[in-house]
Amino acid sequence: MAKFANGHYSLVQYCPSASRLEAANIGVLLYCQELRYVDVRLARGNSRIVHFFGREGFDSFVLEGAKKAVEHRVRLGFDAFKTYEDMELLIQTRANAVVLSAARSIKVDDPVKTLDELFGELVGGAVRTRADRRFREVDEILGRPSLKALVHRPQPVIVPVVNRRLTAPYAFRNGRFNLIRPERFSAHPGAATGAAMRLAMEGDLLDKYLQVDGIKAQLIIVPFFPAESQQNDRASVLRLFGEYHVRTVDVPRLEELADEIQRTAH
């Protein structure tokens, strides 16, 4: 007979009113002190919330941020949750709309399998993956040790004329000061075009006016499109960047960018 460890699980819920206590399950957290395991599975979409509260019942932008915050917190690893009380503290101190239910006991054999099963049973639907959360491919390629001396993490820059702060997680110099910014565009054509227009204009202004240590700056966009976005919508976004002379590097060509950095950066 398999040896089980004692663990605890907690439902991650969207509860827009603490008074009403009506909640939709959007994820599940599993904690097992014996196995030194803590992790969370969150729903990729918001269909359960839409089902309970309607499309007007939540702000997808805020919810996305809250999901990301929960993931960050839990994925700090077991060191942040050394005791059951640490997990309880996380549960009991949440005052916003994404809450954690009181922890319940569970027998755990394989924690990953158990968490997947809990998610399937209590939440359902597709799981939010790491690729949904981060620009994994960009981080993996530009974060390589071989590029460490060439690729930097720059401070935010102020875009001339509009005085807006622009952040880019990576930068390299090769005669230009190249700011590399991965950007995830919405499946909604209007939202994607709006975001692209802003970035294209900012990239154009950087190109025209910004110098860093006497070197002209330029913006490189690594675009990410959701699977459901239409091909012609993607093409419109890319064409927009082209019109403003903002360079784009899509994910399959990231290796070429890494090669270019190896060859030309200093």
Binding site: A69, T93, A95
Partner: protein, 339 residues
């Protein structure tokens, strides 16, 4: 916000106390500023202030309040209506519904004692003074018959409680990327300056690491969040009682950084720190005094501790303004500003 020029200063009426003004915002002209240096050059907006009994008290025509210098809210809950949720925080905060909407209150009777309420109030006023976004806050009186249970047992005691207006948003999860899109990235640097000034150990002061005290509020634009400084109960003494010891030179001249989460480091720009330091260097003893002048007697802070705290706040502002750039430089800008 409706602005009107403040009318001429009325004659004081000792029997009736301060002359009440309507509950709206006022444009204060420099010549009406009572001579305080901070607003002697430009008009600023002020509004009503709550008093410590939880009732409304209107702007007094004294320089004492001018140090606030920023619009403060009309928000002043006076009546507890119901409990929404008791929270498991160290001060046993409770999410309640008030006559002014939902609020999180920290009340007398909490296990950390009454002094943390004083620290919370003063810390929040100082954060506002430095220009950090905070929640709207007020002193709200808990009545004898208000039943507000703490999560871990017991109930809020009657008397003045610290109340913060509930806002939509979420606690920061600890990632740099969560902060890159906020509307006020320069306030990341300001928050570090503030925490170091007030020795606030309850955000980041290893081994303590409390992401929950950085709140991302959904305030302005549709798709952006604003970093908000919250929970200042552990300013000055890290949760211990306020005593005259706070003015000891070891406290004032402590050379330790507070609040610099590792995830903050890429976002702390030298120019933002310089701006915060510039503001802090103008902090005056009068402003320290004004911040403490509003403390409730029911929070039982001895006069000697109030005096010491005033000394600490002023002297440490000077010390931190002089040194924080050199403390931050090796951590935040080891290779210069851009790299």
């Amino acid at each position: 916000m409706p602005f009107r020029t403040l009318p001429a200063r009325p004659e004081p009426d000792a029997a009736r106390g301060p002359t009440p003004l309507p509950s709206e915002s006022w444009l204060i002209l420099p010549e009406q500023c009572g001579g305080c240096s901070c607003h002697s050059r430009s008009p600023f907006v002020s509004t009503i202030l709550p008093n410590l009994d939880g009732r409304r008290r209107f702007l007094q025509y004294s320089a004492q309040f001018h140090w606030l210098g920023v619009p403060i809210s009309h928000w002043q809950p006076t009546t507890f209506l119901r409990v929404n949720k008791s929270l498991g925080t160290s001060t046993q905060a409770v999410l309640v519904k008030t006559d002014e909407g939902p609020a999180i209150i920290k009340a007398l009777g909490n296990p950390e004692g009454p002094h943390v309420l004083a620290c919370e109030w003063v810390g929040t006023q100082l954060a506002k003074w430095l220009g950090l976004p905070t929640f709207d806050t007020a002193i709200m009186t808990i009545a004898e018959d208000d039943e507000i249970p703490f999560l871990e047992g017991g109930c809020a005691a009657p008397g003045p409680a610290f109340a913060a207006r509930y806002e939509q948003g979420f606690d920061w999860g600890g990632g740099t990327d969560e902060l890159r899109g906020i509307t006020n990235v320069p306030d990341v640097a300001k928050l570090v300056v503030f925490d170091t000034w007030t020795r606030n150990c309850d955000r980041y002061f290893p081994p303590r690491c409390n992401f929950s005290n950085v709140f991302l509020a959904h305030r302005e634009a549709a798709r952006s969040m604003t970093l908000v400084a919250m929970d200042h109960t552990h300013c000055f003494t890290c949760g211990r009682d306020l005593t005259a010891r706070i003015a000891h030179v070891d406290c004032i001249r402590e050379e330790k950084l507070y609040g610099l989460f590792p995830a903050f480091v890429p976002l702390v720009a030298q120019s933002d720190v310089a701006n915060a330091v510039s503001t802090l260097s103008h902090f005056s003893r009068e402003e320290a005094s004004a911040a403490l002048g509003q403390l409730s007697r029911d929070w039982l802070v001895p006069a000697s501790a109030v005096e010491a705290l005033e000394e600490f706040i002023f002297q440490r502002a000077v010390f931190v303004a002089e040194h924080i750039v050199e403390w931050l430089a090796p951590r935040c800008w080891p290779q210069g500003q851009l790299f």
